[in-house]
């Protein structure tokens, strides 16, 4: 643990960093994000850097960190100095208020559209020709259909997938929870691999050639077509799904300390601009700007969407479904 050594090393590092920062106009932001936003922010960051340079003359460098949404939230709680977080679900951002008051309680109202500049939903990827003719959620519970999806307990995206299935089951069974639970149990019984993250599941489905259906974020699904070939896979959009709102927030406590509040806020606000919304659409997220959304509407299939508030909000959902002995645990316990 060598305190002296740590201090010296850190002092040395700090000097190096400080030397690079002598011109106060060089700003560094840390954006702590979840897995499937890599391509999005890779394209957005230079756009924002240019915008900021034109506007203020300052040079802003944005460092990216990507991992599972829950892991990232915990890292920020434990001291990862993120100026902004762009995570997979509201629950993971809210915890920054609940546990350490790093953000204000009303964080989700500070930016338009529930602080979600882009949305997505849960869809299916099947192999070319759709050999099992998977069309909707109820096709997934048929015996012999092999499903690949991440584990809802370790992946934020997987929680949206799970809730989409749950919402579908409630709707199909006139809000009969017991029947919905039965449906979910059958669905996860068909899951042959539960990876820990969204990207892991994609790799299992594509590279390992496991499973008939991959349940994924819509943006991830279309990315599969682009990266691995539209001649090998098809995206199937179910009739009903959930509006996944990955929220963004300035970590005010840390940004204040870094003196980056202004640029961090602008970084997130600019996500709502026409230029940024274009990038969002190109990366297969659903833009929230009505005009750009209309422009990219043709690349998505229409479907009916519910949202998290109709299911009772994240805190209630988390407790009911994903806590220890919650419904997700029960469906595995019941089968054995």
């Amino acid at each position: 643990m060598n305190y002296n050594f740590t201090n010296i090393l850190f002092a040395a590092l700090f000097t190096v960093l400080a030397a690079g920062n002598i011109r106060a106009a060089d700003i560094t932001l840390l954006n702590v994000s979840y897995d499937p936003t890599r391509e999005l922010y890779k394209q957005y960051n230079p756009l924002f850097a240019k915008y900021w340079k034109d506007k203020t003359g300052d040079t802003v460098t944005i460092n990216q960190s990507h991992a599972g949404s829950g892991k990232q939230a915990r890292a920020v709680l434990e001291g990862l100095e993120a100026d902004v977080v762009t995570l997979a679900l509201g629950y993971d951002v809210d915890v920054l208020y609940q546990r350490r008051k790093l953000i204000p309680e009303n964080w989700q109202t500070l930016l338009p559209k529930n602080s979600s500049p882009y949305t997505s939903t849960a869809v299916f990827v099947v192999r070319k020709g759709n050999p099992l003719s998977i069309k909707d959620w109820n096709d997934l519970i048929k015996p012999g259909v092999s499903i690949v999806t991440p584990n809802p307990k370790t992946s934020g995206g997987a929680r949206w997938n799970y809730l989409a299935a749950w919402a579908y089951a409630l709707k199909a069974n006139n809000n009969d929870e017991a029947a919905a639970k039965d449906f979910i149990a059958k669905l996860y019984k068909n899951a042959s691999v539960l990876d820990t993250g969204a990207r892991g599941s994609t790799t299992t489905f594509v590279e390992r050639e496991i499973g008939d259906v991959l349940i994924a974020w819509e943006n991830e699904a279309y990315l599969v077509l682009r990266e691995f070939g539209a001649d090998k896979y098809e995206v199937v959009t179910p009739s009903f799904s959930i509006l996944a709102e990955p929220p963004v927030a300035v970590v005010e406590d840390i940004a204040r300390k870094h003196g980056t509040t202004e640029v961090a806020t602008e970084y997130l606000k600019y996500l709502y601009s026409k230029e940024a919304q274009e990038i969002i659409g190109k990366n297969f997220y659903r833009p929230t700007d009505p005009e750009i959304a209309a422009k990219y509407a043709s690349q998505f299939q229409p479907l009916e969407l519910t949202n998290i508030d109709k299911l009772g909000g994240w805190n209630a959902v988390q407790k009911k479904h994903f806590s220890d002995d919650g419904i997700f645990d029960q469906i595995y316990g019941a089968g054995k």
Binding site: N7, L9, F10, V32, N63, H66, R199
Partner: protein, 290 residues
Amino acid sequence: MNAIAPPLINIKNIEKPYRQQALQDPDWVRWSLIAIAVGFIFLFICLPLGLVIFQAFSKGIAAYWSALSQPDTLSALKLTLLTALITVPLNTVFGVSAAWAITRFDFKGKSILTTLIDLPFSVSPVISGLIFVLLFGAQGWFGGLLLEHDIKVIFAVPGIILATLFVTFPFVARQLIPLMQEMGNQEEEAALSLGAGGWKTFWAVTLPNIKWALLYGVLLCNARAMGEFGAVSVVSGHIRGVTNTLPLHVEVSYNDYDIIGAFAGASILAALAIVTLILKTALEWKQANR
């Protein structure tokens, strides 16, 4: 060992061919054991290694080279080397002192100490990272103190070094303890009785005897320090170009669907390990032949 009773027997009384037979394995045993060993190593080591190299070069040398020369890869490599440079010497000094204390003296609690030294081997990498978060994380024991003085340990280089120190802790000691136990301390006692000081005895008598085991422990410690993934992943924060070590960079690239980049990074780690080990084998061989 009951079979080797002390009474001396005239060896010549026993037929020579028979003795030979009892000392050597028959050819079929020899060759089948070699086949099993080679097959096993081929299956579990050569095949995975081959796949790493195959994937790394699957788009040609140019793609391999450009993957390696990306700034993020280079900064990850630098961080990995820095980590090894700090952790290996520290753990080496510890390994030598611990081995000296344990093998040259008798004291109470010796086997507990030996067991504690092995402990990091058996701690899950997930936990090895977690414990440093519990200590230095913002909500950890020293979290408040560190925040007050704006010292970053977790999600910065010091945290990565600490986690690596923990994980590679036993390697040098583990190599030295059995050897020094086996050696006994007659030679050192002789040197001491001839008036040599403690340090001189160590440098002139002990070190030459343990140098190969020591080198070996250092190499293993180094290999693991550079290759550690799980524990470092917990304390790194995954900031590209800043706190990503090479193993973490491999994972990041893989998740970016940059297969070439991922396996190019992995091939560097494998190559570093294998080259050092071949070098060590060659040195040993040269020494033995002198």
